[in-house]
Symmetry: C2
Subunit: 364 residues, 2 copies
């Protein structure tokens, strides 16, 4: 089976590596000269609207998927007319625009912060009036890793955020007070079976994922079941195939949706070592019409991103519980260049290790 | 870190795939036009005594290893003068000749069947006299998967075996009565630390590994410790770095050495899913001066080889405990084209699945 991937970053790279044992060969399309996935599989260099390059991808692929959501929807629709594409283009469309996304989730009865689209200064003032402070002003499109957003606590901060962000379509969201951020990684196969990994607890630093703990501790069956049920509504409504990630705010017993990502996700990297089938393997299995692999955690895991600088493998692997992942990228401030997953048998064992690892990898 | 591998078969392929997350890139040298490892990493085409090709490998490698033991020792010594090579050339030399190997193991006090080198008809008759029937006549060199050997139960079989095999240096070994065949996969790092995976139980059909069960059931601590202690003697004597496999006959409480392989081994494929660090990862970690990863089994595993024909992934992966591995090879009778590992939590669960899987994959 030949898989084409739009995007050749670390997610594409890990998809390609997961594909080989399944007998799948991968080609990535990416505008960069040397995206890191190109170290492990063939690469077609081209912009995501370069139809000659896209046609080359069609010719070398039985299925096409994408590893990030800022691919033009027109591209994915064009591809879907020529070759099976998963997840479906509509999932991409929904996730690309925060207002479309929120309206979609709202239509499914999934809890959300209050929100209002903002185009003009008058919209902004009206939205501030309705939603009140604190609030968060975000661009509707092309945000990632905390870019393109600002928290407004005071009228002065609101003014500053307006000056910085206006001119693009915006959304004002109510500020959610939450205990912690969670994510759920769900997958649906071509036979419509759905499987979910356990809820994951995520910590961000400067808007970039710093650490994930899985399974999220002190969650209970009830919260996991509710998150899975909400995810199922989304997957079914979109007639989705592949991995979908839903990011949540947890406020006591409440789950409030933050956003969805129609792809494998940074918070799911622990599944490589601590689930029978990783998110990467299950995404490919789903897309190619295979049955899903098991998603239960086989231990407890903490994943730390390496941001900016890749540590030496020798320094990380002195810890026998550590699994090291280099992405083959050059160091650069703010860039995700690798990660480490700690795999333990018990939550207590893992907890004891966290403070030290937090210290080591909390700087960019 | 750049790793060169002599040989581009499935073992080289799985080494290359294990290297990527560690930040290692691999090049294989292989005489074939399209060895299966070349689908996942660069390939230098050349015979193992083509020094121009070997020099190309030196230039692209920080370390060199080998994935099978029928590489000329001169080649590996020549490489070792130019680039670090692991395991050490002497390990290769010892394992290539059954008489050298047995004398080496004997010198370390490791239990063996009686054996005698055979060059001439007179040697053969004398050896038959000393060792008696039943016995096994084998070529000293280049045997694998049961090729180049014959079991002698009667004088007529002895005669037939002599006619078939004579003309090459041979060895006559006493026929060992055994309960089962086991293997131990051990690894030693550059800091001289040694780790062993648990003993594995192996079943062969027509001389080719059919099935491995790990950990081997009903072994007990004592047998595992003894096998590990014997392996340590070998590793230390050879000042070994990397993975070493020792094949054993078990006869009640006795372990009798069959042969050693200075490399990752077919019976260790289960370690990909059912140990924290696979044999492939630990081989690379050892060779590159990293600490070893954990070798304990994290569940119970059965590995079945796909011989001759690769089944459809879709037929295998309906079983949620199955992990599918395709090697990217064309089907051919007697060829290892892939494997499946079943991973269970309990031995009982695994035992219940075995008869069906034995039936499915016991034909070539």
């Amino acid at each position: 089976m030949r898989i084409g991937i739009l995007g050749g970053g670390q997610l594409g790279r890990m998809l390609a590596l997961a594909g080989y044992p399944l007998g799948m060969t991968t080609t990535v399309l990416d505008p960069a000269a040397d995206p890191c996935a190109a170290q492990v599989c063939p690469h077609i260099r081209g912009e995501f609207d370069d139809f000659a390059a896209l046609f080359d991808l069609v010719k070398t692929s039985d299925f096409v998927t994408y590893e990030f959501e800022n691919v033009p929807v027109e591209t994915v629709r064009w591809l879907a007319d020529r070759v099976p594409v998963f997840p479906p283009p509509r999932a991409l469309e929904v996730s690309q625009d925060r207002v479309t996304e929120k309206k979609f989730l709202e239509s499914l009865g999934i809890p959300l912060p209050p929100f209002q689209p903002v185009e003009t200064r008058a919209d902004f003032d009206a939205a501030l009036q309705t939603i009140g402070l604190p609030a968060v002003l975000k661009t509707r499109r092309f945000g990632y890793d905390g870019k393109g957003q600002a928290v407004l606590r005071t009228p002065a901060e609101a003014e500053a955020a307006w000056l910085k962000l206006n001119g693009r379509p915006l959304i004002l969201e109510g500020f959610v007070t939450f205990d912690r951020e969670l994510s759920l990684i769900a997958v649906r196969d071509r036979g419509r079976a759905i499987a979910c990994y356990p809820l994951i607890e995520n910590q961000h630093i400067d808007g970039i994922l710093h650490r994930s703990i899985a399974p999220a501790q002190a969650c209970g069956e009830e919260l996991n079941e509710r998150a899975a049920e909400y995810a199922s509504r989304i997957l079914q409504e979109l007639d989705y195939v592949g991995v979908l990630t839903v990011e949540w705010f947890q406020d006591g017993p409440r789950l409030i949706a933050n956003e969805i990502a129609p792809r494998v996700h940074n918070s799911g990297h622990w599944t490589i070592e601590v689930a029978a089938a990783s998110q990467f393997e299950n995404h490919l299995r789903a897309g190619c019409g295979l049955s899903l692999g098991r998603t239960a955690a086989t231990g407890v895991a903490a994943m730390f991103n390496f941001i900016g600088t890749l540590p030496n493998a020798s320094d990380v692997l002195t810890e026998p519980h550590a699994h090291f992942h280099a992405y083959g990228k050059a160091d650069r401030p703010g860039r995700k260049v690798g990660h480490v997953t700690l795999r333990c048998e018990s939550a207590e064992e893992l907890q004891a290790m966290l403070p030290d690892w937090d210290r080591r990898f909390s700087r960019s």
